[in-house]
Amino acid sequence: MSAVVQAEGLYRHFHGDGVPIRAVDGVDLIVDQGEAVSIMGPSGCGKSTLLHLLGGLERPDAGTLVLGDQRVDGLSEAAWARLRRRTIGFVFQAFHLVDELTAVENVELPAVLIGSPRRAARRRAMQLLERLNVADRASHLPDRLSGGQLQRVALARALINEPLLVLADEPTGNLDSHATNEILRLFAGLREAGQTLVLVTHDPRVAATAERLMTMRDGAIVDDTRLDGGAPRQAVLRQLAGWEA
């Protein structure tokens, strides 16, 4: 399998009150095509920053990053934007829908950005909303949608351009248990469909949808385990479930 993400020696430091904070401290990472990876760890360990680095929302202070076959760590802001349109789909904890666009307009936005004809973009957006069971809310503004509906719309938006990589940052963090179960089913479906996924989560149930679990602490990956089912998966997840969210 070819690698979708290859990161080597990624560093990202922040300066808070004069004290440098090593948010990401020399991370090496390879994610193969079709692989679903969960990243867990305590709050402030740098997992969201790592996700932002992989999606170009933050720039590394050092290290190399290759997406597909393109080295991207030195790209300009505009070049990253163009790359994200086709290559990356984001799902955020806070959903982050554009609040003046309706649900279907939010979903079709990335398709329109890559130049798809508007009719085709709308058709594809509606298909995705139907697949995710929110087609009946297509013409609603985000403030009229529930948390679960918002996240399903956000997922549809992330998938509309069939991206090489989906990055999800705490996708169930703002959802109740019913909505969480729905989203878990959707992620499981994505993994089975061969979508490359990187999930950052506190929730062991979300982590369990992946086939590989990475653990971060103090900006570094301290553990990288394959969850191939059976006893190892359950043991690891039970251990992780004790973490403070």
Binding site: L57, E58, A81, F92, D99, E100, L141, D143
Partner: protein
């Protein structure tokens, strides 16, 4: 006591943490209070000046005259004079001035011909209408002439100079003010007073004139009924006062209109500021509520903060307006003669300004403040602002056009904060209206100077004085317009800055999805240029209407070329794009992740 201290402490902390916003609001409110004060002062300053001169000259209550002809014998003239003088014995008359002999005669000043209204005065002080000497001294036993102050100023004559009256050279003894006649060149021919010795030398040149009698009444309010009962009376003090302060009243009316515009603009600016700050402070409001501060106290914090700024602005405006009003008033020909005095700050005037500015602040603050405190504490803590409105039909129709995505998103974002869009468009509309009015005024004054005066006014001294007056009025117009346009620009900057803040999250989301920074800048500019285009569409007809209604009379109807209108629109759009570009560019350069992580 404790709650009061908490409220004041929190309000003071808010001001200290955002000093630029407080300063911007202070500046906008100060401009507004200055304009209101100037309008109030100017409305009063004319009356005060006329009253001052009337008191100093024992000004008349009624003015009567009788004409004579050149072919009358001295005895016949004496009968006319005596008949007019008998009016001084009518009931209610308490003082008499005249009858004074007078005539319109040809004269020459520095080789320039003009007509003069000559009046023969005694060297003794008159009981009524004894002119107030402003330069040199009053007539004495020698030959000489005292010029009405406006004529002396227009012709540049000083005591000791000489003018020619009816072919005779007469030395100028002084210049003086009266309320009996409006200042030259408003009233023409100009009034001059000559001594009996000079009258004797002019001889027959005065024969074709007549006599003037001025009376003071026991009850000045009876002047109109006295005039109705005596046909010889042709003028009352009320008419004179009304005419002499007419220019100033018009100016005050224009200023009041503009002050209302300024107040409107200030409301728009303050509204945007307050609403923008409320959006940013929602989380703080939530925190305050969460620790036990009541919604009423939260509202009080905001009101105390803005009212403190408003009261400071009132002080600045009262002082600035009172200081600026006299130089402004001197730009009118009336006060250049009567001499404007700086009126002191009166309590009623201060109360009016305080009432207006307090209303502005309450109007702008209460609604967003109440909206902020009505949010549930949890919602406020979440930091979420009010959701945007749904796009209207027009925007949805435009959305279907084959426009670039950035343009469509920009138009769509105009619906995000309709109140702000309306306030911004309102401010820009007033700015465009004033620009068109100013351009038309400049054109009108130039046209007036080039053709109107040369045809209608053969008197070169009067023409020069009128031109100077027109220049003063143009300066006044341009100054006021610049004042308002400056406020409109501030309004635009405030709107752009807060729109940028409000767009932060959405732009970050769009960039995360693949929108380039250039596209988000374009989107932001489109949203703002749309407001500017709408303002041009409204402001141009409003400017034409404002010019037409406020300059009825001497100036030509508006005649600006299509090129001027097009250039105005283009420059306004470019200027506004520059104003909006800076916050948009700064926004586009911010890192995406922190903006998305905020929630």
């Amino acid at each position: 006591m404790g709650a009061g201290r908490l409220i004041i402490g929190l309000a003071w902390r808010n001001v200290r943490h955002r000093p630029w916003q407080a300063l911007l609001l202070l500046f906008a409110l100060s401009l507004s209070t200055t304009a209101i004060t100037m309008a109030l002062v100017l409305a009063e300053v004319g009356d005060r000046s006329w009253d001052r001169v009337s008191r100093a000259t024992s000004g008349y209550h009624v003015d009567a005259s009788a004409e004579t002809s050149p072919d009358m014998s001295p005895a016949q003239r004496e009968r006319v004079r005596a008949e007019l003088a008998s009016l001084g014995e009518a009931p209610g008359v308490i003082a008499v001035g005249g009858p004074w002999r007078g005539a319109h005669v040809d004269a020459e000043i520095d080789g320039a011909p003009l007509r003069l209204r000559v009046q023969v005065r005694d060297t003794d002080s008159a009981a009524v209408d004894q002119p107030l000497v402003t330069a040199g001294h009053w007539l004495d036993g020698r030959e000489g002439v005292v010029l009405e102050d406006g004529l002396a100023a227009a012709a540049g004559l000083q005591p000791g100079d000489t003018i020619t009256i009816a072919g005779q050279r007469v030395p100028v003894r002084g210049a003086a003010l009266t309320v009996n006649i409006n200042a030259y060149p408003t009233d023409q021919p100009a009034r001059v007073w000559i001594s009996p010795a000079t009258a004797a030398r002019l001889g027959a040149a005065l024969d074709g004139g007549g006599y003037q009698l001025q009376l003071r009444l026991a009850d000045p309010d009876q002047a109109e009924s006295f005039a109705a009962a005596h046909p010889e009376v042709n003028d009352t003090w009320q008419e004179s006062k009304s005419e002499s302060t007419h220019d100033l009243e018009e100016l005050a009316a224009v200023l009041v209109t503009l002050a209302i515009s300024v107040v409107g603009l200030t409301i728009a600016t303050a509204g945007i500021l307050v609403a923008g700050r409320m959006a940013a402070q929602i989380r703080q409001v939530g925190t305050l509520k969460a620790v036990g501060v009541t919604p009423g106290q939260v509202t009080c914090v905001l009101l105390v903060e803005y009212l403190a700024v408003a009261f400071l602005a009132t002080g600045v405006g009262l002082a600035a307006g009172t200081l600026l009003a006299p130089p402004l008033a001197r730009l009118t020909d009336v006060l250049s003669v009567y001499g404007a005095q700086t009126p002191s700050i009166t309590w009623p005037r201060a109360a009016i300004v305080v009432a207006i500015v307090t209303s502005v602040v309450l109007f702008a603050t209460v609604r967003p403040a109440l909206r902020g405190v009505r949010h549930s504490t949890l919602r406020s803590l979440g930091g979420s602002t009010r959701p945007p409105h749904r796009a209207g039909r027009l925007i949805r129709a435009v959305d279907r056009l084959p426009l670039p995505l950035a343009v469509r998103l920009g138009l769509r974002s105009t619906t995000r904060r309709r109140g702000r869009f309306v306030a911004n468009t309102f401010g820009l509309t007033i700015g465009i209206t004033l620009v068109i009015t100013t351009l038309a005024l400049r054109d009108g004054v130039n046209g007036f100077r080039q053709k109107g005066l040369s045809i209608n006014d053969p008197d070169p001294i009067s023409r020069a004085a009128s031109i100077a007056n027109q220049d003063r009025m143009s300066t006044l117009g341009f100054t006021i317009a610049a004042f308002i346009v400056a406020l409109a620009v501030i309004n635009a900057i405030v709107a752009a800055v807060f729109s940028a803040q409000d767009s932060t999250r959405n732009h970050a989301i769009q960039r995360a999805l693949g929108t380039t920074p250039g596209q988000t800048v374009t989107e932001f500019l489109v949203a703002h240029v749309a407001a500017c285009l709408l303002a041009c569409a409204l402001g141009i007809p409003l400017g034409i209407a404002f010019y037409t209604t406020s300059t009825r009379g001497p100036l030509d109807p508006i005649g600006l070329s299509a090129l001027t209108y097009a250039a105005t629109v283009l420059i306004a759009l470019l200027l506004y794009a520059v104003i909006a570009f800076t916050p948009a560019r700064l926004l586009a350069r911010r890192r995406i992740a922190p903006q998305l992580a905020y929630e």
